[in-house]
Symmetry: C2
Subunit: 343 residues, 2 copies
């Protein structure tokens, strides 16, 4: 297993990437190619005992910054760690690419150099999303704002395959996020995607509502990238809001202050474990012809290592082949709308 | 001030409605017309001391249930408390209508019997939404799933007026919910609404992202009814998830259990006050030619009384006239897209 890691990606620069690469090489036995500025990476790598580990440095002179315009940056910086890392996957020099860098950049580079899997209309971004019942898969997180129903149906198929193979959920329940449970509810695209998915050979459980997501009422939640993006960021904001509310509660009286002292550690740990919208293994690009995982910019070594593990699992479990085969197994009526028989 | 109250609406039947009406009549001096089955309402009302209060019962033999199909039910049940209450506003027999019943039914009845204000394309549902900085206004909550940019721009105008007049926010900051802050971000409708709102005589602060909503980064958040509905229900679900996470934390160790005993009351009270997505004064129908407030089905007397107060304020502060005048003050370039000068 050879993983190309964008060693320059993320808000904290190269250090946590190098640390995670060393840990992943040691723990899982993977070869991790550190893609980035060698004059920066070499001294960082030398701080670790890397005897027996496969940690080559692949030089990339440029960096795509977090704030840059994704597709422009990808086109302008051909020597960036992002572009070179993706190209390694295309050329067969790596089995997968992992980055904590600019999400749009990863998407743009992947579409430009890897392209889409055969028959896939659009790639989508999916992530494990914390719920009361544990992580579920949410897609699309923002790759496509206005979606055609056929795209949503393909996101559902790809999400189902990923959830089964990489998240180890048997026969995952796939749902469309909507404003009501009835199949007549939803915006136009969701209503039509519902009709397609009824005929798809996946475990489609129909429309679900907003509260069904944190309740974990399905395993894969499908939305367009506009809705998915707003929801994901809203959840992050809600977490901060809640922490603020708890701080208020814990300073509101003497008994509450005392209670806070006693329960503080348990609460911190629980919130970190249960409501971790940022670090649960990163987002995966589904539908491109290569395994690409994009972690959160604020990831530290632990989260980066977990993203590397996810990428390797996606390779080992043959997610790309499964998507192509899954697409071939879809009846035509689940792939395109037949306006004469709809409803 | 004469308010028509749907005394049959809500999950708990007539009792909390009657109780709230008595309280509101006593506290605010309003006349509250209790619309519903008189044989049911009379004995309930007789339990209270109503001397000197104006609490007429307006008989309505039918009830629209929560699960019914809104527009079908409204058309089929002309003697329902919902239809008769709305008709009282149309006929000038009441200044406003308040119901805890079927939201879609209230919308359908209002559109059918009150119609839209002059120049308004679509009515929207708006509600006060809890944030770290206190309640803000969120619209649309589900009246319109697929929205044209012109509709979104009008929601923004109506929301701004309501926030200023009824929520007492001076020069409210109005934002479009989007997947990025740049004006090029968003789905097609949001991008085009952005161009309209730049020219509107309101305090438009541009696009905001999901986390800006719980952070209270604006005073009025505008989204289409699909997004608004999913978000509102998601927030409700997140609250349950958080409560569950806290329960886990508080039982995870002996010190945590002890801390829970001490801090329990403060936390319960804070969560109820700060994260109350259900009861903050109900949702208001903006854009119909009458003041109509729809509260949550689970409302108890306190929430119903608060919805009555909101309705009266909307009447007293002349929200309907202000919307019509606001619409007239909008330059044409903020009301319709001119595709030759866009961008």
């Amino acid at each position: 297993m050879r993983i190309a890691l964008d060693a320059m990606g993320g808000d904290f620069g190269a250090a946590p990437n190098v640390e995670a690469a060393v840990q992943a090489a040691r723990e899982f036995g993977y070869e991790i190619a550190l893609v980035g500025q060698q004059e920066l990476l070499r001294p960082l790598l030398n701080q670790f005992n890397t005897a027996g580990l496969q940690l080559p440095i692949v030089h990339a002179s440029e960096v795509i910054e977090m704030h840059e315009h994704p597709s422009q940056a990808v086109k302008a910086r051909k020597h960036s760690s992002m572009v070179i890392g993706v190209q390694m996957v295309r050329n067969g020099d790596a089995d997968a690419f992992v980055t904590m860098g600019n999400t749009g950049g990863a998407l743009a580079a992947s579409l430009l150099y890897l392209g889409r899997l055969k028959g896939i209309h659009r790639a989508c971004l999916a992530t494990a999303f914390p719920t009361i019942k544990g992580p579920v898969l949410l897609c699309d997180l923002g790759a496509n704002t206005d979606c055609r129903p056929e795209w949503l149906a393909q996101f559902a198929l790809m999400g189902s395959i990923y959830a089964e193979r990489v998240m180890h959920i048997r026969n995952p329940r796939v749902a469309l996020l909507s404003n009501g449970e009835e199949e007549t509810k939803g915006n136009q695209a969701v209503q039509e995607a519902h009709q397609l998915l009824k005929r798809a050979p996946i475990n489609f459980v129909g429309n679900v509502q907003g509260y069904d997501l944190p309740a974990g009422a399905a395993d894969v939640f499908v939305a367009d990238g506009f809705v998915g993006n707003v929801l994901l960021k809203f959840a992050e904001g809600m977490k901060s809001f809640l922490e603020d509310a708890l701080r208020t509660a814990f300073t509101s009286s003497i008994p509450a202050k005392l209670g806070a002292l006693l329960a503080k550690d348990a609460i911190k740990q629980t919130l970190r474990q249960k409501l971790d919208y940022e670090e649960v293994g990163g987002a995966v690009l589904l539908g491109v012809d290569g395994v690409v995982i994009v972690g959160h910019g604020r990831s530290k070594a632990r989260a980066i290592k977990s993203a590397i593990r996810r990428a390797a699992e996606a390779v080992e479990r043959g997610v790309l082949d499964a998507i192509e085969q899954g697409l071939q197994a879809m009846p035509r009526s689940a792939l395109e709308l037949d306006h004469t028989t709809r409803g």
